[in-house]
Symmetry: C3
Subunit: 303 residues, 3 copies
Amino acid sequence: MKFPKIFTLKEIASIIKAEFIGDENFPIYGTNEIHRVKKGEIVFVDHPKYYEKALNSNATTILINKKVDCPEGKSLLISDDPFRDFNAINGYFRDFSLKNQMIATDLDIGDNTIIQPGVFIGNQVKIGKNCIIFPNVVIHDFTTIGDNVIIQSGSVIGGDAFYYKNRGYSFDRLKSVGNVIINDNVEIGSNCTIDRGVTDSTIIGEGSKLDNLIQIGHDTVIGKKCLIASQVGIAGCCIIEDEVTIWGQVGVASSITIRSKAVILAQSGVSKNLEGNKTYFGYPADEAKSKLKELATLKKLVK
Amino acid sequence: MKFPKIFTLKEIASIIKAEFIGDENFPIYGTNEIHRVKKGEIVFVDHPKYYEKALNSNATTILINKKVDCPEGKSLLISDDPFRDFNAINGYFRDFSLKNQMIATDLDIGDNTIIQPGVFIGNQVKIGKNCIIFPNVVIHDFTTIGDNVIIQSGSVIGGDAFYYKNRGYSFDRLKSVGNVIINDNVEIGSNCTIDRGVTDSTIIGEGSKLDNLIQIGHDTVIGKKCLIASQVGIAGCCIIEDEVTIWGQVGVASSITIRSKAVILAQSGVSKNLEGNKTYFGYPADEAKSKLKELATLKKLVK
Amino acid sequence: MKFPKIFTLKEIASIIKAEFIGDENFPIYGTNEIHRVKKGEIVFVDHPKYYEKALNSNATTILINKKVDCPEGKSLLISDDPFRDFNAINGYFRDFSLKNQMIATDLDIGDNTIIQPGVFIGNQVKIGKNCIIFPNVVIHDFTTIGDNVIIQSGSVIGGDAFYYKNRGYSFDRLKSVGNVIINDNVEIGSNCTIDRGVTDSTIIGEGSKLDNLIQIGHDTVIGKKCLIASQVGIAGCCIIEDEVTIWGQVGVASSITIRSKAVILAQSGVSKNLEGNKTYFGYPADEAKSKLKELATLKKLVK
């Protein structure tokens, strides 16, 4: 994602004390995950299995733990611990600071927007016009909220991603330096949790409506006019296209794509990509028709 | 439900600029949904499929998008968009205002009731005696709470209903102007969400106990002495009769009735009405005995 | 658990107006549940079915509703209502008071720990160094938190246990006088609820990481380096050993033991103890391999 700062390859190499391959003035605009990385951004890779994918991705700088040939027009940062150094670099691009005031002084807020009591708003947050932020909502740093948005009481927007590297002796947290973008006309219920992206944005598309106690993981992108019922959990890095309907207590595993106008019946567990314009049911979620046949077959067997 | 104001048919017609059929002084006490509407109240209907039901309901005023014969002793409001106009009328009956103080000055509170810090209390709220409202609870406008009630930290009482009309180009929210009634000796855990009724009351019956992270939808009525475990989700317009036990992570679809003393085992999904005095399991929830037979049968088939 | 006060048998008997059998100076250090009770502590029993178990437990004082022979080296308290009297005794050992300030003045807090706005902290709480407590978190009385702990926004630590005695005419709450212990390097997501022990401690082991909207019941002990995904619910009195991984929306019934390095796949329901080093799936949760075979078999039957 676009960060407020630009660095050169040499500057980044010096921050993490790494060797580099490429022009010392090679420009770096930010960091990102492999699925969403763009020109000008760094991606990290620390397992030979993923070297090719990282080197051939849209990333123009690859933070890697082996000295390999540098692809044409790209640059490399050589590190003995790319995860640790990626974390360190992230801290330089964005400053998530822990201030001790309820509402940061740099809040950019539109006309007719109402912030009720008990709301916490971090730094560099933008909120459009005609919004209502109900009591005790927490909005973390860098969140961007459009017009006509309603966020009901107790919801937490922009919490840290649940993203760890298993070091054996411990789980090391990957710092999340992305943000949350909530587009126009979105409504979010009470006590929801929408995590911010690790390096990119978690996005709730225009006109989508979320009920209460919903979990949206880091870097997940929800399309336009989706309807998501209470207690649904969507893991990180998912893509939910436009006009998808997800009923109560459904779970969606990480990195899943659900195509436009799919309907997921209540309590289903989605563990693989789903085509659009169909109705799904069960765990693992399958087309509702075939799942219901299975249930009927089983019932007959017993009788 | 009883609203604080009374209007005449002519006054309501003038508010929404609608034609009316009936005595211009015909009294209107409020609005309601078709399942709970009473004499003196308006119901709306915008689909021919439901015209008969609405005209024959307990409603004495029907807001309808076709000029039909007015039933004896009733009145009609003719509108090209009953949903839009129902919303507009609701705003006149009850004033949900967004004040900027933690505890409204008109709070009616009983002896020995303790409100801990960080609690938000909206307008026209009543709380009985010997209650404990733990930190950071949010209690919205018009909520009524009995005696000896405990609400643990972070719960949200009286949030907006999740109720939209699909306009094709957008989902339009039906304004919720009902409330939540929590009767004597009820206890509610932490970070629960209990939505207010759309036009009527969401009710938690005397002596019922709710664990943490529970969702109760709009207009749902929970009976006396029910026990509801953590992370249960009950959708809108359900009736849960007395002494029902619902174990963890159960989901109940909207408009379901569960009769007295039913027991629903953990993680079940209730998608049809259930008789009382029985134990249920699975999704769709069925009598536990037959569901367990199915599981055993399936297991044998594999071996 | 260790309480701050010590009583004699005679003193306790006088508080609850009960007959006692044993030396009047017999020392009593606290109360506890039968599974965790230790020397010096009281256990209560009110059903003949459990008399033997209680009398032979580690408890050295048994609060019982029948005059039985006192085991060697122990003492008895004879009560017509052991539940009521256990509750009364608990109130004497620990004083959970309801103060009206956001952060208690007796907070014991380490260097570099940051408490963000809107946080409530009860009495006798200890927080180590280098911790971050995000906005609107609630930490109840007697909670102990180690070093390098992160608790994200809106989580509630140390709420009352969901533990009732069915009296027929009502559910009577067992007062929870235990606490929550969160060890070093633990991270807890947003809007989680971790209940305190009834008489002992609910414990989150060193280095364990919890995602958002997770429920941990009273007296449950989570081991070291566990990974628990969003919307998991673990009931009371469970033991989750070290390095267990629990994916999203899993439910674990009360008093279950899950051995070290077990992996529980998403949405599973755990209703019996599970061995370590295996992967489980489904409800009731079984080894994933056999569950997947069952699903495949069922699918074939239909085709």
